[in-house]
């Protein structure tokens, strides 16, 4: 059907041919994404993550079941949908990944440097433990409303700084996050760019990370998403769990409040 339409477009002269060809390409991409929705390999990561969560490991031979993700020790359901938030025991605002690492250090006795040295799997490698655990934690918030708190002064500060970081233009390209993500209907090539300053697109984007990237054959976390955005912005390397990353996630999360978590999702 689509190819018929494309053929017809070729018969017409240049006027709208390119736009039509592009539309059929965009439709084909939409079809491709729809066909991926079932059988998300992130389920495999989440299953491994659940096993890791419950297993006694590390120098202290403890499981992560006592980890407080903000809803009390051991409560996993819905926790990821309410992060980042302020934690008194660390006197800091933490996102899912920061809090996970905090628990692995405090409860299990792992070394922070070792956990953060290589959080992301490389091409063709097995998922890292962090990727599996993160997939599990978000899976436990699937369908839950996004509710990132702003009641604590440090949560407000994180949001405000996150907003400034979002608009921070620097580097040889003069790019900021906002260069791509602050207007409606924009695309890089054929890739739609959500306007993250608006509620609905911010909700859709926040709800979808982490995601299994088919092109990479791996689950990519929210920290990775920011890391790779900054790489393309031509910035230096974003440190894992850095304060700027947590601030940005807080900014995005608050903008997305009221949405419904749908992670881990699946993307091209």
């Amino acid at each position: 059907m689509k190819w018929l339409a494309y053929g017809a477009a070729c018969a017409v002269s240049l006027a709208g041919a390119s736009a039509l060809a592009q539309k059929s390409a965009a439709d084909a991409i939409a079809d491709y994404r729809a066909s991926l929705q079932d059988g998300n390999p992130a389920d495999l990561n989440a299953a491994r993550g659940a096993a890791l969560w419950n297993k006694a490991r590390g120098p202290k031979n403890a499981s992560l079941q006592g980890c407080d993700l903000g809803k009390g020790p051991g409560v996993v359901a819905g926790a990821a949908a309410s992060l980042p938030r302020y934690f008194a025991d660390a006197d800091a605002v933490m996102d899912v990944e920061s809090r996970l690492v905090h628990c692995m250090v405090t409860l299990q006795g792992f070394k922070r440097e070792e956990l953060t040295a290589k959080p992301y799997s490389s091409d063709g490698q097995k998922a890292t433990e962090i990727e599996d655990l993160v997939a599990f934690l978000y899976d436990e918030s699937r369908g839950m409303p996004i509710a990132v708190p702003t009641g604590h002064p440090k949560e407000q500060q994180a949001y405000q700084r996150g907003k400034q970081i979002f608009f921070f233009r620097a580097g040889p390209y003069d790019f900021s996050c906002a260069s791509c993500h602050s207007a409606d209907g924009q695309r890089i090539r054929l890739q739609d760019l959500p306007n993250l300053t608006k509620t609905a697109p911010a909700q859709a984007a926040f709800a979808a990370w982490p995601a299994y990237r088919v092109s990479q054959g791996a689950v990519r976390t929210m920290q990775w998403r920011l890391y790779d955005c900054f790489r393309q912005q031509r910035m230096p390397e974003l440190k894992y769990l850095s304060p700027a990353s947590v601030d940005l996630i807080a900014f995005l999360g608050v903008n997305a409040n009221g949405g419904k978590m749908a992670a881990p999702s699946i993307k091209r």
Binding site: F168, R189, R234, P243
Partner: protein, 212 residues
């Protein structure tokens, strides 16, 4: 290439109404500096904002365009710094220009100093009709030269548009302060030779940009 200016606190303009009473917490520039590490060709000096980057960031965060006086000052400074080609020839080979327009490589921390940078024009612009994978952050440049009546780029009648196009590629802020387009010449992203090839892609009557 880089102006090293000391970082100052972002002004109160960036603080949203209603939060004026909250304590400030760590300063955002300090947080940014602490959050990145150099890797390969991407050093930490990339986080030091030029006055233009800073002014544009503040305007973007406030959701208001720059005031006219500041915009005009930035545009004039950008225009004054445009370097015309040393030999006076503005156009190279459109076929090479097409390759440059397609390539998004260069200047990332996983690139090297030897990586040949592209212009990645198709990421944001439509150019030739054949390439349907184009973005829309910038305007369509299909028929760019033809629409502007450039029948012969070497003709003095075309000089004005040729110079404007070079300036726009060299430093987009020369004609629109806070444009989202990178400064391909001014920031040293593309070489003079590469810029000439991109010029040819845009202005050569034989280029697929200007043929039907």
């Amino acid at each position: 290439m880089k102006t090293n200016n000391t970082l100052i606190l972002l002004g109160a303009a960036a603080i949203v109404a209603g939060c004026a009473t909250m304590s400030a917490g760590p300063d955002v520039t300090e947080v940014i500096k602490a959050s990145f590490q150099e890797r390969g060709i991407a050093k930490l000096d990339r986080l030091e904002q030029t006055p233009l980057q800073k002014a544009c960031s503040q305007a973007d965060a406030a959701g208001k365009p720059l005031d006219a006086a500041t915009a005009s000052r930035l545009e004039q400074a950008a225009l004054a710094a445009v370097k015309p080609p040393a030999d006076g020839t503005y156009l190279g080979d459109w076929k090479e220009g097409e390759k440059i327009a397609q390539s998004g490589r260069g200047l990332q921390f996983n690139d090297t100093a030897q990586t040949v940078a592209g212009g990645n024009c198709y990421a944001c612009h439509q150019l030739s009709k054949a390439e349907i994978s184009f973005g829309n952050i910038g305007p369509s440049l299909y028929q760019y030269g033809k629409q502007r009546g450039v029948a012969n780029p070497a003709d003095p009648a075309s000089a004005e548009i040729v110079k404007y196009t070079w300036g726009k590629l060299w430093n987009s802020h020369a004609y629109r302060a806070c444009s989202p387009m990178p400064r391909f010449g001014d920031a040293g992203i593309l070489t003079e030779v590469q810029l000439k090839h991109v010029m040819a892609l845009l202005l050569d009557p034989q280029s697929p940009v200007n043929t039907p």
